[in-house]
Symmetry: C2
Subunit: 238 residues, 2 copies
């Protein structure tokens, strides 16, 4: 439904759908589109550039989407699928509650650090690019980010329900802080190439969670490695 017009209805392998060469190219297009867009932005993602990258004609490529905005929306959707596969999926292998909450934070950092997208977090970039321009793309990006925040928040309340996180902790506040640390790490890495940012974000998140964790919850968080403040080697990177 979200995907454009001619998709097969998922499970009805009509004669038409069995072949479906177009679907394969469409997928290839979106794969490249996601990469380009994460580096150059969804507006910098140009149809000509995309076509030449894939050795296709502009018009042949264009026909798959019908408009630039549709291409952008499809690209956002493809990026979301990657995000779900690379972040949400793995994190959900952890048990519901604090373990999963931590996993969401941890895997997210790995997702940026491992350059799943060449330009860092796709949605952070898209959000920054479109937050000032009304339209379908902006709306969809905002929606997806709300999904993510809701996921964090739900994990928090589940951890509270399981008695792993104190009741006094405000889920919305905690969600905001964890997300801010994620954005901060992504930002520092993208702009300054600062890999330390991941360790810093990790430490801040852990510290924050430990502060509101109950004795039941505490063991679910990684152990504290305090071998750090011991040798404070003067040169601080730059």
């Amino acid at each position: 439904m979200t995907t454009a017009g001619e998709t097969t209805e998922a499970g009805r392998p009509s004669a038409r759908a069995r072949r479906a060469h177009g679907e394969r190219t469409r997928q290839a297009i979106l794969e490249a589109a996601v990469d380009i867009a994460s580096e150059e932005g969804l507006e910098g993602l140009t149809i000509g550039r995309l076509a030449s990258e894939l050795s296709m004609s502009k018009s042949g490529l264009f026909a798959h989407f019908g408009s630039k905005e549709e291409l952008q929306l499809a690209t956002v959707e493809a990026a979301r699928a990657v995000f779900v596969r690379e972040v949400v999926g793995p994190a959900f292998e952890a048990e519901k509650g604090l373990a999963r909450l931590w996993s969401l934070c941890d895997v997210w950092l790995a997702y940026v650090r491992g350059e799943v997208f060449r330009g860092g977090c796709f949605f952070a970039a898209a959000a920054a690019e479109f937050d000032g321009r009304p339209g379908a793309v902006r709306d969809r990006v905002a929606e997806i980010m709300k999904e993510w925040l809701a996921l964090l928040r739900r994990s928090i309340t589940e951890a509270q329900a399981a008695g792993q996180l104190g009741r006094e902790a405000d889920p919305a506040q905690l969600t905001f802080e964890l997300n801010a640390l994620e954005m901060g790490a992504n930002w520092a890495f993208q702009l300054h190439g600062d890999r330390q940012a991941f360790a810093r974000a990790r430490e801040a998140m852990l510290e924050r969670l430990r502060r509101v964790a109950t004795p039941t919850g505490l063991p679910l968080l990684p152990a504290n490695k305090r071998a750090k403040a011991r040798a404070p080697r003067g040169g601080s990177k730059r």
Copy 2:
């Protein structure tokens, strides 16, 4: 020195500078440019658009800069001047040490909330836009953001020297966290129009600073208003 080439040295009304009609227009151009760029991005800042906004000809406007990149750099510089005037200046009225550190955080939030730039923090937007494209603009933006981080960091060590902040606090870590919270607030406000984000960032910053403040430093931070967890009104904004 930082501002572009032919600015009058502030206080030396040379014959050349007295007239300087061009300088006035240049300033007017940059004022508009900063506004547009903060909303649409430095790349979306187009010469034609800028010219029509000011009822000028493209070429007449263009002559002031010589290239698009120069225009972008000049715009960044103009934005920096605004930032210094609106944030750094006011914050430096507070006394060196923890008071100033807090002032930097507080005034920064006000600067985004008060929409000094129409599109939120100019440099957060510019950083996100250019972090994937090498060039002079990207370098300058990164430099300016490092200036800001250095400012935060210096205030932290000054607060430590004054015995207002514990020696055990890692300045780089604290800088990262404060900056991340700023970015998080800006992001939430821009994308979701969420004004609560400022209060959340403020609370998180305060809490974080209180945790490392010494008994000497604590009174320098705003008092704790705990009228909040009392009436936890169910409806949480959306």
